[in-house]
């Protein structure tokens, strides 16, 4: 059984169609990367999996149940692209609030906060108001909140933007540990050296999944030398005009 399963998902905002017939399957214990140029529908896909957006068509199942499902949502961690924090509260108060929303309390809550803050390298800064935080610190705090429920499914929308390479390596190490422990991780990213760390990748373009496979498979299939070239190949529509050369090349817009 797949942990996350999307089939035939369509989503529109007003007249603008964002997702066309998206199919995705993510196995348990996998770090799955979602790649694609800005505006291709990555964030919308993640939000639909998180249960905060409902698709017009298609089915979304997480851990075998149709989303949105409150029980399943208690076992998921979600980190949005924007930090989504309360700037007037301290970092600790932010953690404590979301912990309580996840149903944690007492010593368990304190332990979970310590653990999650440790992973992202926040210590004494927890007592400071978030409004005094740098962009990178907010990002780390936001990630810590997503880790609070000890999630079986972790959805991370560009989690490492603004985080320095040393800490990024540590976070990846931690993510791999979580995956080894059976957690399923979906991550969207623009950073290519992160993409190759994913077990499998899906490339998206204009609301469609254009390719899926391990990083090596994608590089080989595209006939390119590295993942960055493969990203450009699948993200620009180049492969479409090649596979169907009779079509006008105009569809190849950046």
């Amino acid at each position: 059984m797949k942990t996350v399963e999307l089939s035939g998902v369509c989503k529109a905002f007003g007249k603008k169609q964002i997702l066309h017939d998206v199919d995705l399957g993510i196995e348990s214990g996998e770090i799955f990367g979602l790649l694609g140029p800005s505006g291709c529908g990555k964030t919308t896909t993640v939000k639909i999996i998180a249960g905060i957006l409902s698709p017009e068509k298609g089915s979304v199942k997480v851990l075998g149940r149709s989303m949105p499902d409150l029980k399943i949502m208690g076992r998921m961690g979600y980190m949005a692209q924007a930090a989504a924090l309360y700037p007037s509260l301290t970092a600790y108060e932010n953690l404590s609030f979301f912990g309580k929303i996840y149903g944690l309390k007492g010593s368990e809550l304190a332990e979970r906060i310590d653990h999650a803050a440790g992973i992202v390298g926040l210590g004494d800064e927890l007592k400071e108001a978030v409004s005094a935080y740098s962009g990178g610190m907010m990002q780390r705090l936001s990630l810590a909140i997503a880790l609070l429920p000890d999630p079986d499914v972790l959805l991370l929308d560009e989690p490492t933007v603004g985080i320095d390479p040393v800490l990024r390596a540590e976070i990846w190490q931690e993510l791999r540990k979580l995956a080894d422990g059976g957690s399923t991780i979906l991550i969207t990213t623009h950073v290519m050296d992160e993409a190759v760390k994913c077990g499998r990748l899906a490339m998206m373009r204009e609301g469609r999944v254009t390719a899926e496979g391990t990083p090596e498979e994608l590089i080989n299939r595209s006939g390119k030398n590295n993942i960055e070239e493969a990203f450009i190949y699948y993200g620009s529509g180049e492969h479409e005009s090649q596979s169907d050369s009779g079509q006008n090349n105009q569809s190849a817009k950046a």
Partner: protein
């Protein structure tokens, strides 16, 4: 549990935002103090410059019960000059029997001018009345000396006016009659705005989405808001009520518990309306734009002002009308719970309606 977490978070946010808290708690006190002093007309001092007037009339003016009248004597030219440069509020010239009185008024403050004019006219009328009495008295005496004259019995009777105050008192201040609805309006205004902006930031900042990605129910989110801002309303009500009663000396006839009940219901209606309208706003400034649309008409129509025909009916469609009605009933008239039951039910009904609409809006975002 989650409801308490959300309420606690809101209280924490308010606690950290010292400036907003100062605004919520101190600004209404300043406004009410201003209202108290600005509209206080009794015991005011006016200066009247007398060009010439009978002694009786001058002493009549000086002995006015409601206002302190200072009298100075000037030539006509100086008197008019004194009014012109603000040294005196009025100048007066009357002939010996007060049959002709000429008043020069500084009309730049219309209500002051009205008051002084009334004082002077009353004084003149009193002199005329006394003179008439004396004249009748003299006439009677003359006739008594001359029995040949027919016996004419002239009886002058003064009208006997007694005023009885059912609510308030003769020396009641502006605040006694307007304070109660004002407190309701202040609570509605602040809770509407702060809750609306808080919820707007929650939507814009992505934290609402984040909460919706957790097992929190929509009803728990709304209930958390009600609890958190309800606590704010309780604190504000207690501070405001104690201030107007003990510092400004406003009469407080009924029970403070009834006042709290009404103000909490008002706050819940205001905060749920604020949350609802915040979905139509895309910035804090756009939230402010609801003040002339939502707040001001309610203040005009809630019963704070005497309305011309038909408009009082429009007031019945405003939540604040029921707040003002109930607070006046409790604070000024000293009525009990049974007399404010209808108001409380209407306010609670508004709150429930707004909550349901909010839940509907949240449902558009997440299906469960």
């Amino acid at each position: 549990m989650r409801v308490r977490a959300i309420a606690g978070r809101i209280i924490n946010q308010l606690r950290h935002d010292k400036r907003t808290m100062a605004l919520v708690l101190a600004a209404p006190l300043i406004v009410l103090t201003l209202v108290y002093f600005v509209f206080q007309t009794n015991g005011q001092t006016f200066t009247v410059s007398v060009i010439n007037a009978p002694k009786d009339m001058v002493s009549e003016m000086k002995s006015n019960d409601d206002y302190d009248i200072t009298v100075r004597h000037d030539s006509k030219k100086d008197a008019v000059g004194a009014v012109r440069n603000g040294e005196a509020e009025a100048a007066v010239s009357a002939d010996k029997d007060c049959s002709r009185v000429k008043i020069y008024l500084d009309g730049s403050n219309a209500s002051d001018a009205k008051v002084i004019r009334a004082v002077i006219e009353q004084s003149a009328a009193a002199v005329v009345r006394d003179n008439a009495k004396d004249a009748v008295h003299d006439l009677k005496k003359t006739m008594a000396k001359n029995p040949a004259a027919p016996d004419i019995d002239i009886e002058m009777s003064e009208p006997d006016i007694t005023a009885k105050y059912i609510y308030g008192s003769e020396d009641g201040s502006f605040l006694d009659s307007y304070g109660a609805p004002l407190i309701g309006a202040i609570i509605f205004f602040f809770v509407f705005l702060i809750a609306g902006i808080n919820f707007l930031n929650e939507r814009k900042g992505g934290t609402l989405e984040r909460i919706l990605s957790t097992p929190a129910k929509r009803s728990e989110i709304i209930a958390g808001y009600v609890l958190g801002f309800g606590a704010l309303a309780v604190v504000q009500t207690i501070v405001l009520t104690l201030f107007v009663v003990y510092v400004l000396g406003m009469t407080m006839e009924g029970s403070i518990a009834a006042v709290l009940l009404i103000n909490i219901l008002t706050a819940v209606a205001a905060l749920t309306l604020g949350m609802l309208l915040s979905t139509l706003a895309s910035s804090e400034f756009q939230m402010m734009q609801f003040i002339p649309l939502v707040i001001l008409p309610q203040i005009f129509l809630c019963g704070l002002f005497r309305l011309s025909g038909g408009w009082d009916i429009a007031g019945h469609f405003m939540p604040l009308y029921y707040t003002a009605d109930a607070l006046t009933a409790v604070m000024v008239k000293g009525l009990g719970y049974s007399d404010i039951a209808l108001d409380a039910v209407v306010l609670a009904g508004c709150a429930v309606l707004f909550m349901a609409l909010n839940a509907g809006f949240l449902k558009r975002q997440r299906a469960i």
